[in-house]
Amino acid sequence: MDLLELSLGALRSHRLRSALSMVGIAIGIAAVLLLTSIGEGTRRYILTQFTQFGTNILAVNPGKTDTLGIPGVLGGTTHKLTLEDAEAMRRVAGVDKVVAVAMGQARVEAGQRGRSVPLFGVTPEMPEVWKFRVRQGSFLPAGDLRRGAPVTVLGPTLKRELFGSENALGKFVRAAGFRLRVVGVIEPKGQMLGYDIDDCAYVPVATAMRMFNLDELIEIDVLFHHERLADSVARGITRRLTQRHGGREDFTVTTQTAMLETFGNIMDVITLAVGGIAAISLLVGAIGILTLMWIAVGERTGEIGLLRALGASASQVHRLFLAEAAVLAGLGGVVGLVAGLGLAALLRAAVAGLPVYTPLEYVLAALVVSVCTGLLAGVLPARRAARLHPIEALRAE
């Protein structure tokens, strides 16, 4: 502790020089902190986008591909995903709810106003599976899936565009030559990956298939009882569907966990790469400290000789210079930390929606890293100081 005080005194006697070499580390730490914060912020942003549907959910798409690939490009002759497939999944162990999805784009009109939006054909369990809430009225009525009642539930953006603040319940809209009665309006969900998911309409899946003349589903979403069941449910569904498709696995089952994992891995690599680039500036800072300390040892050779004559051991001299480098870098780290956090806050304020997030671990890690950087940078100069022969050092005056 007292040696540390001596180190501090030495640094204080060269304020400008110490400050300048601190700047190097500060810039490095600020850069690392800022860039990893943006990386981590992006990860969290996208994660929440995904997990708003929950983690106990999986999706079945036609065609066989790997996770996150484009379904259907590799498969030769594939069976289509049908409503019957969706019905069959309901009986797989662990499955709670099933949503069959068909989709088309259509101009939806009410009176003079109209708007081209995606129309989702879904089954009545959709709100529970996709974590949507109905704001007004009710969701699509339960009943025979194949019947396809001419009703619709509007996304809040579409409702506002068509009806303004008027009540839409019970009113009729036209789409693709069909006349649909509005039975509900769902609550706003906001953006998903920059895409307004409130600007659409939902109809019974059979209605959508008839409207757009479809004979297949684009997706079947399955909600199961617990996240733990992901693997067993995925296997059960694969088995059942393979059976139904004549022994062919011509579809893709994607669990949310698998998707998040893949995504997490990608983000890890990106964060690492970005952090690595920033770490280079940290390295430059470290070299600055090394240089400064090396020069300091040269300048203070006489002092080192004196300290040895006064009974300082070689290892005490070693620690003295190591501590000096560590303090220098540690202070630089604190400055960099403050600068980095400040810049992050500024960025958040300046660029709305830019996801910047700094976990506490990053802050602590930045401090530890800066001190360690100093220790590493101090090793060579400290060793040089400790190895000086006391007499040679004294003579250097």
Partner: protein
Amino acid sequence: MIRLEAISRTFVVGTEPVHALRGLSEHVRPGEYVAIMGPSGSGKSTLLHIIGCLDRPTAGVYRLDGETVSELDETALTAIRREKIGFVFQSYHLVGRLDAAGNVELPMVFAGVPRGERRSRAAAALEGVGMAGRTRHRPHQLSGGERQRVAIARATVMRPAILLADEPTGNLDSAAGQQVMAVLRRMNAEGLTLVVVTHDPDVAREAERVVVLKDGRVGRRLTGSELPASGSGK
């Protein structure tokens, strides 16, 4: 008790050996006051460094209080320097960024003396050299004689048995030099073994014994009173 038996110290400069000490033998009893004189380059400083465990002899045996110092490793030598020996240099060697008290505290920092005790011992040591009022002064705010007295306080604050001084008055005028020597004399009277390298016969005359070096050996041994009287020495 300092016992030097046939001590040699050879430096190698390039490929040339430089013989600073050539088989020097000398004993110093506890509490003695010995002056070392001799022409420039005769090996006085080298001898002092060896006595002070800052340097090792190339050949010969050095015993300090019965311990064969010439066989010890660096760690043990550091401990001896810390506990038994104080150094005073011609050019003071004060640390410029520390005030007088800070300089005097230095050896205690390395010995692990707790802060409170350090403070009081440093104050006492400075008082002992007549510098009680200047503890907060930095070296550049002190005169040469004052600096040297701070250096003496620093060298003795660990209460060593031996004080080694290499031309302690070499940079001082005679008045300041006499003040410094008065301090050393008093410490010697209190039991401190004193070995002083000097060119100044007036300084050497105060010693019980004078050892005159010549070419790395003892040339002559005198008592202080045997020295020729002279005017002012530098």
